[in-house]
Symmetry: C2
Subunit: 594 residues, 2 copies
Amino acid sequence: MAIYNPPLDEMRFMLNDVFDVEKFWQANENLAHVDMDTVNMVLEEMAKLSKNVLLPLNRTGDEEGATYQGDGVVTTPAGFKDAFKQYAEAGWIGLGGDPEYGGQGFPKMVTMLTEEMVFTVNQAFALYPNLSVGATLCLLASASEEQKQLYLEKMYSGQWSGTMCLTEPHAGTDLGIIKTKATPNDDGSYNISGTKIFITGGEHDLTENIIHLVLAKTPDAPEGSKGISLFVVPKFIVNEDGSLGERNTLAAGSIEHKMGIKGSATCVMNFDNAKGWMVGEENTGLASMFVMMNYERVTMGLQGLGGTELAYQNAAAYALDRAQGRSDTQIQSPEKPADQIIHHADVRRMLLNARANAEASRCFAMYVAKQLDESKFSVDPENAKAAAARVALLTPIAKAFLTDKALEATVDCQQVFGGHGYIREWGMEQIVRDTRISQIYEGANGIQALDLLGRKISRNNGKYLENFLAEIRDFVANMKADHEIKQATLDAAETIEELTTTVLTNISTRKSEINGCAVDYLHAMGYLCYAFMFAMMVEAAHDKEGAFYANKLKLATYFVGRILPRIKAHAEMVKTGSDPIMDFDLQYFEQNIS
Amino acid sequence: MAIYNPPLDEMRFMLNDVFDVEKFWQANENLAHVDMDTVNMVLEEMAKLSKNVLLPLNRTGDEEGATYQGDGVVTTPAGFKDAFKQYAEAGWIGLGGDPEYGGQGFPKMVTMLTEEMVFTVNQAFALYPNLSVGATLCLLASASEEQKQLYLEKMYSGQWSGTMCLTEPHAGTDLGIIKTKATPNDDGSYNISGTKIFITGGEHDLTENIIHLVLAKTPDAPEGSKGISLFVVPKFIVNEDGSLGERNTLAAGSIEHKMGIKGSATCVMNFDNAKGWMVGEENTGLASMFVMMNYERVTMGLQGLGGTELAYQNAAAYALDRAQGRSDTQIQSPEKPADQIIHHADVRRMLLNARANAEASRCFAMYVAKQLDESKFSVDPENAKAAAARVALLTPIAKAFLTDKALEATVDCQQVFGGHGYIREWGMEQIVRDTRISQIYEGANGIQALDLLGRKISRNNGKYLENFLAEIRDFVANMKADHEIKQATLDAAETIEELTTTVLTNISTRKSEINGCAVDYLHAMGYLCYAFMFAMMVEAAHDKEGAFYANKLKLATYFVGRILPRIKAHAEMVKTGSDPIMDFDLQYFEQNIS
């Protein structure tokens, strides 16, 4: 079975050394109740649960998969039900929930670390509670007080779960063209009819009720994304006293057979005049969804981090054990016919790429989580607004860059195993298959890039970016550490600044420039963000004793010399722009199609 | 089902326009019998077989997989047996075989194109004939006349198949430490005992006999790779008259469950005093294997090309059909709620990356195939020697760069499908899973890189490379086309020249420099090779009429601006070198391991 050693030291390094959370929390009266002693206990509990309960279900869950039994019944893999019960009863689903409705009120900087552990050991399992949390965030932000009272507590407790029903067969990225209809009834409820696909946890055997949040169009709604409303549509209608009433007219029609996350039930959901209630105002459904999207998208980044972490730990263990060939420097095991492959520089290169990615992405997710907490809990509205702007800028990077780099890292770690990496029993190929989805769902990574370059950079003329660059330069200027990461970060910031000027200029004359440059722009930005994170880690580590801290400086050196140079390639490709893409006519793409 | 339109136009562009094969063949009396009319017929026949017979078995073969029935019996997926029979009876296995033993004597420049088609439509199936071909190449180069008479004809005809038994549980990359023993008998035969793993086609139901080529150690053989001999060990011992004799004492113990190529039986083979006969001289087994390795490694590059081609064609078809959002330039389908996604520049970027990779890799494989043909058939020994040197230099690139880029391309094409790309029924995720193996087997890509930078560059002080760079510069200097690829290719050549000087200097003081820089060096070289290929394609196309040729120039422009810039990132990472890798002590990689 795969090994997993929860990286609590790394997490504490983030909390204490890099982000000095106690100071941050103390300075904010809404967070002053959080203390590191409790947080340490929380992390240790999740470390145990993830390692002892969820990790052992990772491969069996992949082998068995979720199954559709016919008649709308979906079964999760053996062990998932018990594990979910333990997970729910320990209070994990409501960890970051609103205390007014039974949540525990922990900030994102804490919940993201527990989420990381769950995604590391079992990506498929993680999605069940994760979607519930997403649904509660959405209800909390947009639902009426009555709806919150009715649903939140039981969703926090895991008695009920939640889903997000957005996609339809013909409408994925483009939600403006959905067809699901909501017809008003006299009693204030609506009848919901339509088919939704790719619904994670749309049906399963883990909870007694499933609360679907469904995007649909009311009669006479405006066309496109401005005519979409959000509805809460429970599997069992909930009576006013919170007890379960009649079965609603909705059901899973089938589940998908997928490349990975096979233990997660991805359902086709058929709504046939199902009873639902509007959440928030009419025609503001997309906005309500996007409230929770920022949280979810950072969490997808964590899924990538989880895949990387598990792949790294297992690849490092394999490289320390497997003996092939001799070290280039000196024979390490003269009594044996070969040395361990950890002595080969190319094996280390793959491991270090993965580890640098894991550490930078954890730091970046924490940085974004801090802004999320600031925007949610800050007593100073100006502060909250600035943090929200930073979140808006960085969320697409947290989702797309972290998951793109995660695929690279998991593939590299699989490669360390040679032929064994391709064999199911070693578990590495599953990590690659599972991690792959994180680049696709919750807004495909290309869409994230469009969001970054289009909405977050171009539409406000680079203002969010300006502030971010100013913060980076300010941080580096005040660094006490003496390390090459400083100059490298400043250079990267300059690369991005120049690049942004170029691309904003080109946009004015090339209609497809944003679309054609967005992904490379996002990757260039991602490397800058990682450089900034390494600068923060170096500053936190440089004056402390011991190998743990010394290695932080070494990993930053590795990053500067062996990873960061890629920023220039992406910058050059963005400067080339979209012309060579759009220069082809449509027939070019048709010519090879029979 | 996946679509496939065999790219015969592209193949003819290679044969006629880029490489002017008729002239090349006419100039060489050993190849003067080959003509384009026959070759066209050959390609058209394979186009039909691959599209009509092998493609329909691709997904069913993946779903069913090869199965181990117990007692050493392995069954291939439904349809494979009939398809293999058709394949064999049409003479495809002996297409490039020696006419003296029933082969058809076609050069590699032709067989590689038929191999491409087979790998495109069904990677798992392709491996059965492919391993047979590999075994015949090995026998042809090293076996005695008697052995050739006994085995080759029936292997060419597909009555029997062949395997390569190299890897053992503890010995993959490092074959010097294998344990399989060969004990001589009085009659000149040997008793072979040991366990081999990862044996493609080690057992199956396609042929009446299976001819295993097995690496083993004779008693008192020198240690390491200098003490390895090669043996032919048939499943059924072959009588002198070619009829089948008694069952040999060898059997499949199990088959592996893998990430992909599930229709291919990957066997654990147990040899228990199995009767075998030495091939070639004692202790020269590895050298005998390497004779066929150059052919096989180019073929693995073709597997990558095949994956890319199938992924591209299906992604392009999907992008032409799927409607989401509106085009940035102008509304394309005003009567519909959305435009086809082919109008989005980012979708085109992914498609163009894949297509540029397919075309450059096909051209590169053809270029290497030409050198292979030159080295095998040339009447001028000097010519043959120079071509062999070029093959030696480029083979690791043909294997590793083509397959690394292929994974990128197939992942990109999967991404074009959004969520549907992750669902099995669409077939895209299978292409990714199947293609992934090509980076791992036949010498993992990291090992290819070591071969390039260590054996092919460093050991002869860059002399092979000098000759190659001279050819590139000479070609560009003589180009009649006016296109940015010219300067870009010269720049890339200069980058590589400088880089090589740097790395050869650093090697003298850093023991792990080759190992730590090899993969990035190989990638930088790969981009130079692709640039050279695009220069050749531009030169072949620039003075010809029609959209087909005009698009070649456009794709080269795309390559220069949107792909080639990566060469600089790899160059910079090589210049950084191995120090930041080796600066970590062993404990660093242990600290997270429980």
